[in-house]
């Protein structure tokens, strides 16, 4: 099946720093989602990005589907950015059932 790899697994930043998180996937996918799981466990949708680049405030994401990777950029990080960032790719099986395949996440800690 499809493999989803995220890097780095852990990241510590000082407030105000920039960072790039990467997601590699092993096969063609329908779509890709980035999520932020906050310290209370809530999964928050960041981007739904099958290809191209999207921006939302200090966050932006780029997916290059032909090369099977996606990048999440965090600029001017804040302590509220702490948590785990998950990449999940959508794949259809033989029965055309769409399901998400998840990476293991990048755990981010932003220190004041």
């Amino acid at each position: 099946g499809i493999q989803v790899e995220q890097s780095p697994p852990d990241l510590i930043l000082q407030e105000g720093a920039n960072s790039t998180l990467r997601c590699n996937f092993s096969d063609s996918v329908n779509n890709l989602q980035w999520f932020h799981q906050n310290p209370w466990g809530q999964l928050i949708n960041l981007f739904y990005i099958p290809s191209g680049t999207k921006q939302n405030g200090r966050l932006s994401a780029t997916t290059v589907a032909t090369e099977r990777y996606s990048l999440l950029y965090i600029s001017s990080s804040q302590t509220t950015d702490s948590g785990v960032y998950f990449c999940a790719v959508e794949h259809s099986n033989a029965g055309n059932n769409r399901k998400l395949i998840w990476g293991l996440g990048t755990s981010l800690a932003v220190n004041p």
Binding site: N30, N31, Q33, F35, W40, G41, Q42, L43, I44, N45, Y48, F86, A88, E90, N97, R98, K99, L100, W102, G103, L104, G105
Partner: protein, 114 residues
């Protein structure tokens, strides 16, 4: 529009007891998912419904877990009897073709089995 609702938010039970979780998806979302997330891991799909039919329950431990979505709207996930290893966060999500199948998640139910 209202998001995915789940209850309860927290539950503590003893092993061998039973527990039930409730989920109400975003209005109009035909597809509903239940995930189990163990601390330090990504979410694991337990069961997927399309309206009131089961699309995928391949990873549902059917000897102790059951789920239903009788009217194709809200859903209940039950564990009976619970084991220590069932301690996890149970997440419900929903999606719709009208939203490009993007999955939206509820706040989750944190279950502790003692």
């Amino acid at each position: 529009e209202a998001g995915v609702a789940q209850s309860p938010r927290y539950k503590i039970i003893e092993k061998r007891q039973s527990v039930a979780f409730w989920c109400n998806p975003i209005s109009g979302h035909a597809t509903l998912y239940w995930y189990q997330q163990i601390l330090g891991q990504g979410p694991k799909l337990l069961i997927q419904f399309q309206n009131n039919g089961v699309v995928d329950d391949s990873q549902l431990p059917k000897d102790r877990f059951s789920a239903e979505r009788l009217k194709g709207v809200d859903s209940t996930l039950k564990i009976q009897p619970a084991k220590l290893e069932d301690s996890a966060v149970y997440l419900c999500a929903s999606s719709s073709p009208g939203h490009s199948y993007e999955q939206y998640f509820g706040p989750g139910t944190r279950l502790t089995v003692t």
